[in-house]
Symmetry: C2
Subunit: 145 residues, 2 copies
DNA sequence: ATAATTAAAGACAAAATTACCCTTAATTAT
DNA sequence: ATAATTAAGGGTAATTTTGTCTTTAATTAT
């Protein structure tokens, strides 16, 4: 469904929203370990999420790390996809046709349409905070228990 | 959503179902041109669809090419995904967690679940024939009009 | 039989994605 | 001030996906 990059971005964002605060920043190492992702690659993705403080914030140096503000927690989950430039993925034709449209629909167009809209809805209605609250972090990730 | 390979496979299958018959086989060149895909890569994909005659059939030599039997047209669209080994893609966790389940759901699990089921439904209820009939082939592909 | 045509098969190449490493910059604690 | 810590940034490597090319095998028309 999503690229690895997007999966890691979503997992990292949710994890950071669950565990971080301005006074308790999370290091790259902790995040990557918690969400089971390769640290170096995760670093690149966290950079994207940090650009212009679009989703999360970061501070360098001792006791530095990544965190998210209460305000940013109110952002729609869609912002994560935007940061990864994958926001338009749900607009695309399921058969990959460039000019699929209401006027010139592909054979799956009208059946896929309501599903597509629900997928968009999913990322539009949920805030980062809401997702973070959905599950106890103890059994969310690190799921080797 | 899907890989290029899967997109081409679905488009090719639908096109072949629309235009071919045992007496009117379609060449690789015609198919690739019609569905706007790279010929050599499409050849590989058609081979997968032809393996064990799982979806389409092929005949070599003059007036040879690809076609689909009336019987195969009654197959579920899911068979195309199976041939590409992408049949399990809808079973996967949207966040990429290996052990996401009802007992140990990821934060998006229960919201994604009904959408996932509709996606599976889409490929289970539609036969190849039904999809092929959905749109007039003249304005399906070659959509540069 | 022979030549022409078409898919099958295998090797290879290009591009994109994923992953890693090293240096630099910023920040903090001492 | 200095040393330690941590993310940022750049370059590179590995892997996967996508795409190409050439040869072989099968079939047909002549």
């Amino acid at each position: 469904m999503f690229s690895k990059a997007t999966e890691y971005a979503l997992r990292a964002t949710i994890y950071i929203a669950q565990k971080s605060s301005i006074t308790n920043k999370l290091s790259l190492a902790e995040i990557a370990n918690a969400i089971d992702s390769p640290p170096s690659f995760t670093a690149k993705i966290l950079q994207l999420l940090t650009k212009d403080n679009c989703v999360i914030n970061s501070v360098r140096g001792p006791n530095g790390g990544f965190y998210i503000t209460d305000k940013a927690k109110q952002l729609q989950l869609r912002k994560v996809l935007e940061a990864l430039n994958e926001n338009d993925m749900f607009d695309k034709c399921i058969l990959g046709l460039k000019k699929c449209s209401e006027n010139k629909p592909c054979p799956m167009h009208f059946q896929y349409k309501p599903i597509k809209q629900q997928l968009i809805h999913l990322f539009h209605v949920n805030t980062i905070q809401q997702l973070a609250e959905k599950t106890d972090h103890r059994n969310l990730f690190n799921n080797d228990i």
